[in-house]
Symmetry: C2
Subunit: 208 residues, 2 copies
């Protein structure tokens, strides 16, 4: 035998940790919570409260929203119909990746089209996707107008604004429907947690 | 007092869980491990072994590579110079999001350009980015040729192939340089873990 090159006999191939093995080892399951509804319906408020609650109970969770997506991953996208679809497509794919990594991805986007929401569901898988419809009346959202966008839409400074001159396709079979005009944010969170519990998505690993 | 509309007085605004609060509550810190090197240098092998090791020790970790990115998030991208840059840009942004969520993102991409790697570092933040250079000689990579790509590149069926007729900008200041032609994969993993430990990036929460 001559000199042997140590690396030569190494098999260089990759094996992937399965989602199940990951869940067993980490003691946690990832999934996607997808919040859809008008601007001002309360998506970000609910998303951030839910994230904090889950993290406090030991579940890694992460909010995906316009703030962290439009300034980073999707900063190359504008607001044309095509770019809006691509925005939601990418968020759906990233949310699915978080879910596969064992994290609860909480996506908060108007996401007015059923097709985009359905694609997000398919990327994550049906068992790992919870769709929450914030069914807040448009009048209430316009009254809140936290970003002053309805005012601009009424003044014609923004066009294709969802609920004013842009369509919103209501989810026919949302897993949870929230009425943020009648319930406080903490009450909405309880409704969500109750549903997650019923789907066995809150198996705590340890509570802080 | 007249009838009060319950929702009217609710402040609908979002507050975000800070990275520090998240780390304290979850007992774990996220960061990005970025593997760069020629095709066949062992990036996927190292990435998957590292992922498994970290997960077994209770650290959520997730591999980002061509397999899960090119078929999902980046399936709209081809292999033009522009699309390759965009591929790496998006991966850098997603890796940074995982890191902020408390997960160790392990990115395994040839990523031949210093600019793309630098942008990924900036997205995550310098303290949360570990660059690993797989400094495997091109001859060794070509001999391994696990995907048959070097053969195709030599036959002219693929052009701009990194190391053959495409450039690779060597990282001048990688945090770790691995020599996969001289060390076995488990030995490489030990070198990485030693470095991560020295940077206090292995604070275990609990071991399985």
């Amino acid at each position: 035998m001559g000199k042997e090159h140590k690396g030569t006999n190494i098999t260089w191939h990759a094996s992937r940790v399965s989602v199940t093995t990951r869940e067993q080892l980490l003691g946690q399951q990832g999934y996607v919570v997808w919040l859809t509804g008008f601007s001002g319906s309360g998506k970000s408020t609910i998303a951030c409260l839910l994230e904090e609650r889950l993290i406090r109970e030991g579940h890694p969770a992460y909010v995906l929203d316009g703030d962290n997506v439009r300034h980073g991953l999707n900063r190359d996208l504008g607001f044309s119909a095509q770019d809006r679809d691509e925005n939601i497509r990418r968020v759906g794919e990233v949310a699915a990746m978080f879910s596969k990594a064992g994290v609860v991805a909480i996506a908060a986007f108007i996401s007015p089209y059923a097709k985009g929401r359905q694609e997000a569901r398919e990327a994550a898988g049906d068992d790992a996707f919870v769709e929450i419809f914030l069914d807040t009346p448009i009048a209430e959202c316009e009254q809140r107008d936290p970003k002053g966008l309805y005012k601009k839409a009424r003044a014609g400074q923004i066009s294709d604004f969802t609920g004013i001159d842009g369509p919103y396709e209501r989810p026919p079979n949302a897993d949870i429907t929230l009425h943020t005009e009648r319930f406080t944010p903490p009450e909405c969170i309880e409704q969500i947690l109750q549903f997650l519990g019923s789907r066995h998505l809150l198996a705590a690993r340890h509570t802080h």
